[in-house]
C-alpha cells in the first residue's frame, strides 16, 4: 500500500451496559458497489484509559454489534470508550468515511437514538479543505422538562499527551466553567447543572487544545436512560 492512497481515521464512542449499540461501519454506499474500509481495529478502554481489549474487525462487515462485544470482552467495566482505528483508500472514499450508530436501552419504551460516531484523529487531509475548528464546540439546548438531565462525555484519544478541556455552561448570560484533565485514553462524564440562579441551562461549550472525543448526553430522570446522545457543533473560521 503506498502512502499516497492510504488514509487513516480514528473515531470513538462510549458504551454503557444495558444498551443495544450497533455501529454501521461504513455509511456511504453507491448504486454500483458497497464501499469498504481497508482495515479496522476496535479497542475498548475503561475510564482510566486502561486498554481492555483490541479486536481486529473484518472490514467487509457492515454492522458491528458493539454491545455484544463489550459484554463478551469487558463485562462489568462500567462506561467504555470504543476506538475505531480505520484505514481507507482515498480513491474509494474521496471524503472521510463515517461510522453511524444506533442506541437503544433494552426493554425501554423510549425512542431509539441514532448518531454519527465522533471522528477524532484524521480524516481532514488538505485535499478536503475543511474549515471547522473542531477543538472548539458548542451545543444549544431546547427548553425541555425537568425530567431530563444533561452531561457531556469526553475522552482523550492521544497516545502520550494529557488532554485538558474547559467546559462552559451558559444560563441567561451567566457563564460557569469546569476544567478537566484526562490522561491518554481516559474518559469522563461531566454533569451539567440544569439551572443556575433561577435560569435554565441554554448552551454548553467545550474548548480543548486539541480535538477530544465529545458527546452531549441527555438522561431521563430518575432512570438515567439516554434520551440524547449527540455530537457538539464546531465553530467556523
Amino acid at each position: 500500500m503506498s502512502s499516497s492512497d492510504s488514509s487513516a481515521l480514528l473515531s470513538a464512542t462510549f458504551h454503557e451496559e444495558g444498551y443495544e449499540h450497533l455501529v454501521e461501519l461504513v455509511h456511504q454506499r453507491d448504486a454500483d458497489a458497497r464501499r469498504r474500509l481497508r482495515s479496522l481495529d476496535l479497542a475498548l478502554y475503561d475510564a482510566d484509559g486502561k486498554l481492555l481489549v483490541s479486536i481486529p474487525v473484518d472490514p467487509g462487515q457492515e454492522i458491528l454489534d458493539l454491545g455484544a462485544l463489550v459484554a463478551a470482552h469487558a463485562p462489568g467495566a462500567g462506561r467504555i470508550m470504543a476506538a475505531f482505528e480505520a484505514r481507507y483508500d482515498e480513491r474509494v472514499f474521496p471524503y472521510r468515511p463515517h461510522h453511524y450508530a444506533y442506541l437503544h436501552r433494552r426493554g425501554s419504551s423510549l425512542p431509539s437514538l441514532y448518531y454519527a460516531v465522533n471522528a477524532v484523529l484524521g480524516g481532514v487531509p488538505d485535499r478536503i479543505g475543511a474549515t471547522g475548528l473542531n477543538n472548539f464546540e458548542t451545543y444549544l439546548f431546547r427548553p425541555r422538562g425537568a425530567s431530563e438531565r444533561h452531561s457531556v462525555l469526553i475522552g482523550n484519544l492521544s497516545r502520550f499527551a494529557p488532554g485538558e478541556a474547559q467546559i462552559s455552561t451558559y444560563y441567561a448570560g451567566a457563564r460557569r466553567t469546569n476544567e478537566v484533565t484526562l490522561g491518554p485514553k481516559a474518559h469522563v462524564e461531566v454533569a451539567l447543572d440544569p439551572e443556575h440562579a433561577g435560569a435554565r441551562l441554554e448552551r454548553v461549550e467545550i474548548k480543548a487544545v486539541f480535538r477530544l472525543a465529545s458527546y452531549v448526553v441527555g438522561r431521563r430522570t430518575p432512570s438515567g436512560e439516554l434520551v440524547i446522545f449527540d455530537h457538539l457543533f464546531t465553530y467556523f473560521k
Binding site: 502512502s3 492510504s6 488514509s7 487513516a8 481515521l9 480514528l10 471522528a119 477524532v120 484523529l121 484524521g122 480524516g123 481532514v124 487531509p125 488538505d126 475543511a130 473542531n134 477543538n135 484519544l157 492521544s158 497516545r159 502520550f160 499527551a161 494529557p162 488532554g163 491518554p184 487544545v209 486539541f210 480535538r211
Partner: protein
C-alpha cells in the same frame, strides 16, 4: 508519559498528513523539521496536536544531546 523509543517509530502520529513517530524523530535529528508536505501536521483535525508537541519536545532534546 513514557519515552517514545524506536519501537514506536512506525506509529502513525498525524492521521491527516500520515506523519509517523519515526519520521518526526529522523527530521528532528537531521534538523529538518518540518518536512516538506508535513508542515500542516497537527493543524488539520488537531487530534494529534498534543502528541505532536510532546514528541517534538522529546526528539528536539534528544537531537541536542552530544553524540556518544
Amino acid at each position: 508519559m513514557g519515552r517514545q523509543g524506536p519501537e514506536m517509530d512506525t506509529l502513525l502520529l498525524c492521521y491527516c498528513t500520515n506523519l509517523t513517530v519515526g519520521e518526526l524523530r529522523g527530521a528532528c535529528r537531521a534538523g529538518r523539521w518540518p518536512l516538506p508536505d508535513k508542515e500542516r501536521s497537527g493543524k488539520l483535525c488537531t487530534g494529534c496536536m498534543g502528541d505532536l508537541l510532546h514528541c517534538l519536545r522529546l526528539f528536539s532534546e534528544e537531537a541536542r544531546k552530544p553524540a556518544r
